[in-house]
């Protein structure tokens, strides 16, 4: 009797432990896999209103209602083997840019708020940021009066402006440099879609890739130790760092 009992207990335990360990192993593997697949390729862009990528992947249930409600059919759900987290929505600006519908149907369709319903004006969308990535091939930069990206921009004259560089000598052309402004560009990708080159010279990237950031202002003493932050620095009229004094002087000129 005692033997029988211990055998059933052993069977029971090994069964339970077996499944538990199996599940735990699979879970560990999956969490590693999910980290590897979490990053989006630079040219695949989330629909307007998408939460930050990390939060988005926790909120999007991959139902595809945004895809269905897009009147221009620009959105896709990532299939198996695509380098986008499985089943999540994206578009490729060069193929089909976002037309920035005023009523934002894709966001309204989202049942979970992975596309944030607080986005009410499409001009506030920040899907990405356009960057003139190739001035060498950009026709306008080479002085050939293209400026298609400037004219196609839904926020005409705001998100992209043209900087005129006068001609620098005989035989040289004046140059028309498209400049993207990060405070207004929605990342819709109309410019990338319209660029007349075979490969677009202006591309929409995720904002974290496209934007630089100023360093926090700090100074070091002669041993390389951080001594003061910006607020403290304002208390002293002179800096221990001669470079800063020079720079400050230049700024006031």
């Amino acid at each position: 009797m005692a033997i029988n009992k211990s055998i059933t207990r052993r069977n029971f335990l090994s069964n339970v432990l077996g499944s538990a360990c199996g599940a735990a192993l699979l879970g560990a593997g999956l969490s590693v896999y999910s980290r590897q697949t979490a990053s989006m390729p630079a040219l695949k862009i989330r629909p307007p209103g998408a939460l930050d990528e990390e939060a988005f992947l926790g909120a999007c249930v991959r139902c595809g209602q945004c895809v269905r409600d897009c009147p221009y059919d620009i959105l896709h759900l990532a299939g198996l083997g695509e380098p986008v987290p499985l089943g999540s929505p994206y578009f490729v600006a060069r193929e089909q840019p976002c037309r920035m519908c005023v009523d934002i149907p894709c966001v309204k369709a989202c049942p979970t708020g992975a596309l944030d319903h607080s986005l009410e004006n499409i001009d506030d969308a920040r899907m990405g940021l356009a960057v003139v990535v190739d001035e060498e091939n950009c026709l306008a930069c080479r002085g050939m009066r293209c400026e298609v990206c400037f004219y196609i921009c839904p926020l005409l004259g705001e998100a992209i402006t043209i900087d005129l560089l006068p001609k620098t000598g005989s035989g040289k052309l004046p140059r028309f440099i498209p400049v993207v402004h990060s405070d207004t560009c929605t990342g819709c990708g109309m410019c990338e879609g319209a660029c007349v080159l075979q490969k677009s010279a202006i591309k929409v990237f995720p904002r974290y890739l496209a934007l630089g950031q100023e360093a926090e202002k700090y100074r070091y003493d002669d041993k390389g130790e951080k001594v003061m932050d910006e607020g403290e620095a304002d208390d002293t009229p002179f800096s221990s760092n001669p470079l800063e004094t020079i720079n400050r002087g230049r700024g006031s000129l």
Binding site: A23, V61, L77, E82, P111
Partner: protein, 282 residues
């Protein structure tokens, strides 16, 4: 164990082919209709329902959402929109009435794949001997929930074959065929009823909903049973039948109360003695 008889042959003889397949036919019709409703939009431009089983919208007014997925979304720390929550509530109430695993046998497309594998297995006399506990699915269910909580991401949805297959059928399958073939071969060669009956955490979740559900299979005329065992052979969860079928002496209820019963109704089909019928939990 080299038993290779025709399951339900006695029922076909006594009731006729149609009567002994009627619930199976109804189920296939139901699964096909649901898929067709979702496909009517993209193929014919008739948008009765948009989305997929994760979340959808009927005629732009009635939302439906998968409560299992919404629970995972909650665990990642995100609060879904009201439409999503309402949809999950509607689905939840529906399955509380008709039993959670009705999802498995009447809705889920994977069921067709694994039922076919099981049928072929029996036909060809293939023995798939890998055995593991039917409780494994609860561990996997727990694992998927913990993963959502720990990573803040719907990790299970990266690999969930159930959503891959249905989403694939509605939005374009791509390499999803591989998943279907893999599930089929796994159930055919590796483990009998391996996926739906042992591993699938989606089924485990819906099974838990079914613990208190109203609609049940009842072994109403169990005294007529001739122990032919056809119901056991055809049942995807045979452990659920025994207490109801053999409980007469112990005064146990003839209602199949085990939540893992999928209400597929195959036992009703294959029984030549009409032991089973659909009824309510008492």
């Amino acid at each position: 164990m080299a038993r290779r008889r025709d399951i339900g042959a006695a029922a076909v003889q006594s009731k006729g082919w149609y009567k002994s397949h009627q619930w199976l036919l109804l189920r296939r019709l139901c699964q096909l209709s649901i898929l067709s409703l979702f496909l009517l939009g993209p193929i014919a431009g008739i948008w009765l329902i948009k989305g997929n089983l994760a979340s959808s919208m009927i005629l732009g007014t009635v939302p439906l959402s998968d409560p299992y997925l919404l629970l995972q979304v909650f665990l990642t720390g995100h609060i879904p929109e009201v439409t999503g929550l309402l949809g999950a509530a509607i689905v939840l109430v529906f399955y509380l009435l008709v039993s959670g695993r009705v999802y498995c046998s009447w809705v889920c497309p994977v069921n067709v794949v694994t039922d076919t594998a099981s049928w072929l297995q029996h036909r060809l006399g293939i023995k798939a001997r890998t055995h593991y506990s039917r409780q494994t699915r609860y561990w996997l269910l727990g694992m998927t929930l913990i993963l959502a909580f720990a990573t803040g991401s719907l990790v299970w949805e990266l690999v969930n074959p159930v959503s891959i297959v249905f989403r694939g059928l509605v939005f374009g399958l791509g390499l999803g065929w591989g998943v279907i073939v893999a599930l089929f071969l796994f159930d055919l060669l590796v483990s009998h009823r391996g996926w739906c009956g042992h591993l699938c955490p989606v089924g485990a979740f819906y099974g838990l909903i079914g613990r208190v559900s109203l609609l049940r299979v009842v072994a109403a005329k169990r005294e007529q049973c001739n122990d032919c065992m056809d119901c056991f052979d055809v049942c995807p969860e045979p452990q659920v039948i025994r207490p109801a079928r053999k409980g007469a002496r112990g005064q146990r209820s003839p209602v199949i109360k085990n939540a893992m019963c999928t209400n597929c109704g195959r036992c009703i089909d294959v029984c030549s003695k009409d032991v089973f019928r659909f009824g309510l939990r008492k």
